[in-house]
């Protein structure tokens, strides 16, 4: 297999899998789970081959239809695109987890549709991160957004439909902003290829270029749920079925951030604008996000609601790292995109397993569950330690790097904000762990529940193990992403 056909395969294989799910899944989606799992295993193999390729040879392209840049559409795989690995891993584990969960929580008639939408959502994200064409990026953003709205609503409960509607309205506005910006950039450069736009933007009119940048940033930050554009997130992420929450919180919000990285690649290269004022705004909003997310999370009783607010904090960390525009800051932010995906998926799938077994979702109702479901709660605790950022877990290294980035950029005060935020986060996670292990149960029957079934327990344990492993082997992703960040900042000239 040539690299370019692998690059096509990472989109086409899950896409074919998705559109065939209703056919192969059979009546009431009986075989849909087996089919979706098979498709994701195949896609994961392709993702592994791609990451291996980029580590050996650096970025590479596929020219669709054989039309060279800028006449056709180019797929471009660089180090940032290596997020296909985490997308495939989480997608696979979420689908495995869904077998029992979806069968219990969803109306049977919707099972086939559920797996179809999950695969479409993953296809959209995979396409989003590997495309080198700005309009193509928008097309994949539509696939992943539309399937995301539907997945929030799929349980059919009124609250879910309302949450999905709110998500839809915000998401549609953000898509519109991004589309408008693409139109502006096309008018300025006559091109849709990102690398070509970056070359041709140099020396073009500043005001429209600035407007396009503002629209792209706002659009992507709505998708990423940065404060104050986060209002859609808590309901949508908390009410969705747990595997969907894991995908939405772990991956879908990250596409906004990866989109932002693409915007930086265009604008840093073009040198048409000075981005330092945008970066200052982003660093501040990131800092506010960290604190506000943590603040709201403290008051949540519902475990999934708490996790949803915690996502807003973590998006804050990543945006702050990007905005610092220093080597360490961007490396830390990028690696946190990967690591937070693992951590948040551990937590949401773990919470899903607790809700599935006990039927309770409030922290007070879940008191004492640590004694009856030791493995699940242990995994959640590992996730909690990671998200606080204690060594030796996955969360520590990236937050440390972002803090170093703050010092490197000459704003050590943001490093302090970061540590302060981590303390806040520590408070509410300790509350969760405390209620699992150390408080007397309100519902005595909670001591009788059994540990989660294997298809649910295995994904949670694998993810928890990865949270630990990424802490101990943290140098690997850091050094993997370093050349890409050096290139990005090299174009900045600093």
């Amino acid at each position: 297999m040539t690299p370019s056909s692998l690059l096509v395969g990472i989109i086409v294989v899950p896409l074919a899998g998705a559109v065939l799910t209703p056919v192969i899944g059979g009546k009431a989606g009986k075989h849909a789970w087996t089919w979706a799992t098979t498709v994701m295993v195949a896609t994961s193999v392709i993702a592994a081959a791609l990451v291996n390729q980029v580590a050996r040879t650096g970025p590479f392209s596929a020219y669709l239809g054989g039309w060279e840049r800028p006449y056709g559409i180019e797929l471009r795989f660089d180090e940032f695109s290596a997020s296909v690995a985490v997308i495939c891993l989480l997608g696979l584990l979420a689908i495995v987890f869904s077998q029992k969960y979806a069968a219990k929580e969803l109306p049977p008639a919707r099972l086939g549709t559920y797996y179809t939408l999950l695969l479409l959502n993953l296809t959209g994200m995979l396409g989003f991160v590997v495309t080198g064409d700005l309009f193509n990026l928008f097309v994949f953003m539509e696939i992943l957004s539309l399937s995301g709205y539907a997945l929030v609503a799929i349980s059919g409960e009124r609250t879910a439909e309302m949450a999905a509607f709110k998500y839809l309205v915000m998401g549609a506005v953000s898509s519109l902003l991004v589309l408008f910006a693409i139109g502006l950039l096309y008018a300025l450069t006559g091109s849709l290829n990102m690398a070509d736009i970056s070359d041709r933007l140099t020396g073009s009119a500043e005001v429209p270029a600035m407007l396009a940048l503002a629209l792209l940033t706002t659009g992507f930050m709505v998708k990423a749920a940065l404060f104050p554009l986060h209002v859609w997130l808590p309901d949508a992420h908390a009410i969705a079925p747990s595997p969907v929450s894991a995908i939405l919180s772990g991956l879908v919000v990250k596409t906004g951030l990866l989109g932002m990285i693409r915007v930086y690649q265009i604008y840093y290269g073009a040198k048409v604008l000075d981005l330092s004022s945008l970066n200052t705004v982003l660093v501040w909003l990131g800092a506010i996000s960290i604190v506000m997310g943590a603040f709201f999370a403290i008051f949540q009783e519902d475990i999934k609601m708490m996790l949803a607010y915690s996502t807003i904090s973590n998006i804050g960390y990543i945006v702050m790292g990007l905005g610092l525009a220093s080597q360490y800051g961007i490396i830390g932010a990028t690696v946190h995109i990967f690591n937070h995906a693992l951590i948040k998926a551990t937590l949401f799938l773990g919470a899903g397993a607790l809700i599935y077994q006990t039927g309770y979702r409030n922290l007070s109702d879940l008191r004492g569950v640590g004694r009856s479901m030791p493995f699940t709660t242990a995994a959640i605790s590992v996730g909690a330690i990671s998200i606080v950022g204690m060594p030796p877990t996955a969360g520590f290294l990236c937050k440390w790097y972002i803090a170093l980035g703050a010092v490197q950029a000459g704003h050590p005060v943001f490093g302090v904000a970061l540590v302060f935020g981590a303390l806040f986060i520590f408070v509410y996670y300790i509350r969760m762990v405390n209620s699992f292990y150390f408080q007397a149960p309100i519902h005595p029957e909670i001591l009788e529940v059994k540990e989660a079934p294997l298809t649910m327990l295995a994904p949670v344990l694998i993810l928890a193990a990865l949270c630990l492993a990424m802490g101990l082997l943290g140098r690997i992703p850091l050094s993997f992403i370093e050349p890409a960040v050096t290139r990005l900042l090299g174009t900045l000239g600093g």
Binding site: Y71, V139, L146, A153, A205, E206
Partner: protein, 241 residues
């Protein structure tokens, strides 16, 4: 008060947008980058190297065919989203099932019914014409598929769902709904195997008819998929209730 604030906010937002628009290269000017960079190649060489007289078809199905591959997936996703929200299993469904609602469908007038039956073959032929002619004139799979989908909806209203559904046997309905992305994938993978790039068409001048044929295959796929999806959404929204 709220309205006045909204209006004021919108005016405030629109000012920088309008100002930025005024700074764009002149619309319609021959020196604007939109007309000087990639567009000339499409216009000058499109019909010959991409396979269709109609340059729009060249761009959407050949030069930027992968975007259209994505767009038909968006349409398929919208069908799945409609299923996700409207398929049986919603709260309170049992109640509405046990208390059959009064059917409000009015009796269809014999005149309307006759006219629809009379016109159906012509509408269907027109739909096929729009699909097949897309590579020469405006039209193509999306438009022709929509015309055919409208015919299916009309037939459902006038002749009943059972009659209209015969045009889409339940056994292959899933395949028909996925026809557009599946056609793209089939043509794309064929291009990958034969010419080394996904969605690649034969490049040799002597093979111009193959390029045109492949475009028509894609158009038909889009048309079939579009018509199936439009009618399925209509049935899902109205039929089961």
């Amino acid at each position: 008060m709220k309205r006045a604030l909204t209006a004021a906010f919108l005016v405030l937002v629109s000012l920088p947008l309008l100002y930025a628009m005024s700074q764009l290269p002149q619309h319609g000017s021959a020196t604007s980058p939109a007309y000087t960079h990639i567009a000339p190649r499409y216009l000058e060489r499109g019909p010959e190297e991409a396979g269709a007289e109609n340059v729009v078809t060249d761009v959407i199905l050949n030069y930027r065919g992968f975007d259209t591959n994505g767009e038909v997936t968006v349409i398929f996703t919208s069908l799945a989203a409609v299923f996700a929200v409207l398929l049986a299993g919603r709260e309170g469904d049992e109640r509405s099932a046990s208390e059959p609602r009064a059917r409000t469908t009015p009796e269809v007038s014999p005149v309307a019914s006759f006219v629809v039956r009379l016109l159906s073959p012509f509408v269907a032929i027109f739909a096929v014409y729009v699909v097949m002619n897309g590579h020469i004139s405006p039209g193509g799979g999306f438009q022709g598929g929509t015309v055919f989908g409208a015919l299916l909806i009309l037939a459902t209203v006038v002749l009943g769902k059972a009659t209209a559904e015969k045009l889409q046997p339940a056994r292959i309905r899933g395949l028909l709904q996925a026809a557009a992305p599946l056609t793209f994938i089939a043509v794309g993978v064929a291009g990958l195997i034969m010419f080394g790039d996904y969605l690649a068409f034969p490049k040799a001048a002597a093979l111009a008819w193959v390029r045109t044929l492949w475009l028509i295959v894609i158009e038909i796929g889009i048309g079939v998929g579009g018509a199936s999806i439009i009618s399925a959404i209509f049935w899902q929204m109205g039929g089961d209730r």
